[in-house]
């Protein structure tokens, strides 16, 4: 059954609205945190793609915009991009704050892909990398202010692997510990459940493009 709602991303109204917003966002790119909150396409042009998506340029070249991945998703996490996506119009992506990827163990979205834009051979959902969660607004993070929140940590499907809690002394009260959620890039798959669950009006933890693996010149 084709879900009509999967395609409502492309409306004239949104096209016009985003047509203005995105160039603006790009204009301030290169530092401003605020642009990161334009989650449909942030300042770095990052789209959270479904599990198994190949590298972005290859993805755009292969995706035939058929919407089969979106149909296969039992949670309606996958949406087809609207006009703001430029050449990516009609491609599948996930808006974590609305519905994140719940990491189905049988990965139905990737299996449904006929074009190779999503890797059908993907077997272990914990081995994918859609992006990496980052705490982008430390001042607004309740856990870092000492409150016992840590919702991102407890809701992480890779709890104690992708996010761990690192306690440290709370100077302000003198008797409590601040439980800092620490994200481990090599384990975080970028599902966006933390971003979705964050209790702040603007999520302080968001999924971003995974930074490239760096070469070390030092033995730790």
């Amino acid at each position: 059954m084709i879900q009509k709602s999967s395609h409502t991303g492309i409306t004239r109204r949104r096209f016009l609205k985003n047509g203005v917003l995105i160039p603006l966002a790009l204009a301030v790119a290169g530092g401003s945190i605020s642009t990161l909150f334009l989650r449909r396409a942030d300042a770095r042009g990052f789209y959270l793609r479904p599990p198994g998506a190949v590298e972005e340029r290859r993805f755009l070249a292969s995706c035939i915009k058929c919407g089969k991945c979106a149909q296969a998703c039992p949670y309606k996490s996958i949406k087809m991009a609207g006009g703001e996506a430029g050449i990516g119009i009609g491609t599948p992506h996930i808006v974590a704050r609305e519905v994140p990827c719940y990491l189905c163990p049988d990965i139905p979205c990737a299996k449904a892909c006929p074009s190779g834009a999503l890797d059908k051979k993907l077997e272990d959902i914990e081995k994918i990398t859609m992006g990496t969660a980052v705490i982008v607004d430390r001042e607004s993070c309740l856990s870092l202010r000492g409150l016992r929140c840590e919702v991102c940590y407890r809701q992480c499907p890779l709890i104690d692997k992708a996010i761990t809690l690192e306690p440290r002394h709370n100077q302000r009260t003198g008797v409590h510990s601040i439980m800092e959620p620490v994200i481990h890039r090599d384990k975080c798959v970028g599902c966006g459940i933390c971003e979705n669950a964050c209790v702040r009006d603007q999520p302080v933890i968001v999924v971003m493009k995974s930074p490239p693996v760096q070469k070390d010149y030092y033995e730790f």
């Binding site: 709370n170 008797v175 510990s177 209790v199």
Partner: protein, 768 residues
């Protein structure tokens, strides 16, 4: 004396106290506060038994913000995520604002007069036709002290029935009977300061990381400062607490009884006990064994304590060798020996902490006794930094349900209806005929709703609680409430709940700072707050509702107060001398709470300890002075291991355990109205061990049908969640009103405490 509230406020000089903490009192003429446009007042948090202090900011008659109270010793300005959203719990869209009366299948708006006239007529009719024991009040550990006191006074002293119970029966009753049987006085000797001062913490059936989050972060901070600190988590489920503990000791459900006896066995065998302490402060007793599980309606049990010698106690322990208990519990014998030695280590300051894993237990009283045994054997009790501490789940389970005594068998301050002297004292304070208070307790909570189902109780009024989601074996009680035939259910609440669904009359209630109140937390701290905002629409406080019924039943003379709260407090205070002393009302207005006994304006940190407790004389050191019949000694009880009421078998091969998550509180009626918390944890899941799931061919997130002999629900499986079920166990949280897991729970209870076991019953799990 004519004393208006306004006069009192002026006289109490409360404004000064608040200004000192940077929080001007609501209603005072503080210029800084007026400038900001927000007026701040103090209150304890509305949620758990920790009792964190918060400052409540009010503007234009609405709460616009809350903050952790930096002057509150409990939390020093911190809160958990529920406390952070306190300002939202009163403002859910579906707040009840008018009384509703059932007309057929519809609930129809009515005036207060109409609703109260109907309620009073139902009470009168039932009392006339079937006697006073056909009407009942089911209240709460979230009642303010005043609400509980008024209800108890009306039912026991006015209507003349002991049909009053709090929901604390479902969460704290075993702790109470544990205290009463071991020390003859309810509530702990220790305080939260022990979380900073100790170095060894044994947690039993307590997921502190999620359920007492602010207290847990204190233990963790203690460990950061002192690397010698050890946290040992005994449990049947790997929780966030286990994750942060130094050791997680998993055991087969119900074998905590055997484990504690094995620890005592090692301590005795290796002579690690404190002989002097035992000689001076302890007696040994045994009670009945094979005591049943309260599964039959009208179950009755009376223990028959018999004294025994230390040698006889040693003989009793001889069964519980580490090797034998290893077979029962799955905990290696060597580990049991190691932990017993740790418990007894003379260089260590040892604390035990527990909550529902112990209390919601068919042998809840016994297991509470057994943990005290270990502390009494080693003398690690009543000293700064080393104590057993029973944690509580509700904001005033201690202050109201236990101290006011809103249980069927209780009167205020450790007194009981079965004792003629206690009844006489209550009657004197209440100004009634002593014959009015019945000498026999009637129903515990489960029995109360069984009686409603049978039709023995006709009218039941519930306040500040949600029994038709929170009772075990829920199907029976939900059906029972709607059986008709003269049954009449009144539910007072702030929101529609699973309980208002079965109500004949729904009364809209004021909540938290929409009324003046006092709560008492788990460390004996009594905390007061003022009314800060008006309740919406026609909502009224439960206190006003109870007094309105009293007037209509002709018992208005029991409540002759002008400034109700203050005068009622001073009346209630007359019950509380001799070690449970409470201070005059002003003291609580001015302070961030005081820990009783408060004598000559001074709070008490450590009960029964010389230099702390004013009732312990110089030279006595430690004196369990409340236990007069044992000469001021505490009791070490020989309590055996006995099997659970229902254990897994071929048809129902899994243990089901239920509990809470950090984001939601109890049945979720408040936290479920906070969109941010709802988003953070939207619905219940079934935690299962990955190996069990694999065997059943179930993948993560797949839906499963869970069935017990009592009910069935369908839930998605969570194999990677915050809680990791052990093999053969599943866990489901009970906050989700769309998934009533309590339909599956067994209504077996501890025969001594009457508290049901929500942690153990047998279920099967199938692909849905």
């Amino acid at each position: 004396m004519e004393l208006s509230r306004r006069d009192f406020l002026k006289a109490s000089a409360a404004a000064a106290a608040f200004a000192a903490a940077g929080a001007p009192l609501l209603g005072s003429n503080n210029a800084d506060a007026a400038e900001a446009g927000i007026k701040w007042g103090k209150a304890p948090c509305r949620f758990c038994g920790t009792g964190c202090g918060v400052l409540v900011g009010v503007k234009d008659g609405k709460i616009v913000a809350t903050k952790g109270d930096p002057a509150a010793p409990v939390n020093r300005g911190l809160n958990c995520i529920k406390g952070y959203f306190l300002s939202k719990i009163l403002y859910g869209k579906d707040r009840l604002t008018k009384p509703l009366i059932r007309k057929g299948n519809k609930m129809v708006e009515a005036s207060w007069d109409e609703a109260m006239t109907l309620i009073a007529s139902k009470f009168k009719e039932a009392i006339e036709k079937h006697g006073p024991d056909s009407v009942a009040m089911y209240g709460s550990g979230q009642w303010t002290v005043f609400e509980g006191y008024a209800a108890s006074k009306l039912f026991k002293g006015g209507i003349g029935t002991n049909n009053i119970e709090p929901n604390a029966r479902l969460c704290m009753a075993s702790a109470v009977t544990g205290f009463m049987t071991t020390f003859a006085s309810d509530e702990p000797m220790g305080v939260y300061d022990d979380l900073d001062l100790g170095d060894t913490y044994f947690l039993w059936g307590a997921n502190m990381a999620e359920c007492h989050p602010v207290l847990f972060s204190r233990i963790i901070d203690n460990r950061l400062k002192n690397p010698a600190v050890k946290i040992i988590d005994f449990g049947t489920r790997r929780t966030r607490t286990s994750q942060m503990a130094d050791q997680y000791i998993k055991f087969t459900p119900q074998t905590d009884l055997a484990l504690l006896n094995a620890i005592a066995y090692v301590i005795v065998k290796e002579k690690l006990y404190d002989e002097q302490f035992i000689k001076k402060h302890v007696v040994f007793k045994k009670g009945k064994t094979n005591i049943g599980n309260g599964l039959e309606d009208k179950f009755k049990f009376t223990d028959d304590p018999k004294p025994m010698t230390f040698d006889e106690y040693k003989e009793f322990l001889s069964t519980y060798t580490p090797e034998y208990v290893e077979k029962l519990s799955g905990v290696p014998a060597a580990k049991i020996i190691e932990l017993a030695r740790l418990y007894a280590d003379k260089k260590r300051k040892v604390n035990s902490l527990w909550t529902m894993g112990f209390n919601q237990h068919t042998r809840g009283t016994w297991v509470n006794n057994l943990v005290y045994n270990v502390h009494l054997l080693t003398g690690k009790i009543c000293r700064p930094g080393e104590n057993p501490l029973s944690l509580t789940g509700q904001p005033s389970a201690c202050g109201t349900a236990r101290e006011v005594g809103t249980f069927t068998h209780r009167l205020p301050a450790d007194m009981v209806v079965t004792n003629p002297d206690h009844r006489a004292m209550a009657a004197k304070i209440w100004g009634i005929d002593p014959k009015k208070i019945p000498e026999k307790p009637t129903y515990n909570a489960v029995e109360m709703f069984r009686a409603l189902d049978r039709g023995d109780i006709k009218v039941v009024w519930t306040q500040v609680t949600n029994p038709f989601q929170s009772l075990p074996n829920l199907n029976r009680f939900r059906k029972g409430a709607r059986k008709g035939d003269g049954r009449f259910v009144i539910v007072s609440d702030m929101y529609p709940t699973k309980s208002t669904e079965v109500a004949d009359v729904i009364l809209p209630s004021a909540s938290w700072v929409e009324k003046e109140g006092v709560f008492g937390n788990a460390e004996r701290r009594t905390q007061q707050w003022f009314k800060m905002v008006e309740a919406p629409g026609e909502a009224r406080s439960d206190l006003a509702q109870t007094i309105e019924l009293a007037k209509r039943l002709g018992h208005g003379n029991l409540f002759p107060y002008k400034y109700i709260e203050k005068e009622m407090w001073e009346e209630y205070r007359q019950f509380t001398g001799g070690g449970k002393d409470l201070a005059p009302y002003e003291a609580y207005v001015k302070s961030r709470g005081l820990r009783w006994p408060v004598v000559n304006g001074k709070e008490t940190l450590y009960r029964y300890a010389e230099g702390y407790d004013p009732y312990v004389k110089a030279g006595e050191g430690i004196k369990f002075y409340k236990n007069k019949k044992d000469d001021g000694r505490a009791v070490i009880w020989a309590r055996p291991y006995e099997a659970a009421a229902e254990a897994p078998d071929k048809t129902y091969p899994f243990w089901l355990c239920t509990g809470r998550v950090l984001e939601h509180w109890h049945t979720g009626t408040m936290t479920g109205r906070v969109p941010e918390l709802k988003r953070a944890y939207p619905s219940a899941v079934c935690e299962m061990h990955p190996d069990d799931a694999k065997k059943l061919g179930i993948k993560n997130l797949q839906k499963v049908k869970i069935s017990s002999r009592r009910g069935t629900i369908t839930l998605p499986v969570d194999l990677n969640g915050r809680g990791k079920a052990e093999k053969g166990n599943i866990f489901v949280a009970f906050f989700d009103e769309t998934k009533l897991i309590n339909e599956l729970c067994i209504d077996a209870y501890c025969p001594i405490s009457g508290e049901p076991d929500y942690k153990k019953c047998a279920v099967k799990v199938e692909k849905a």
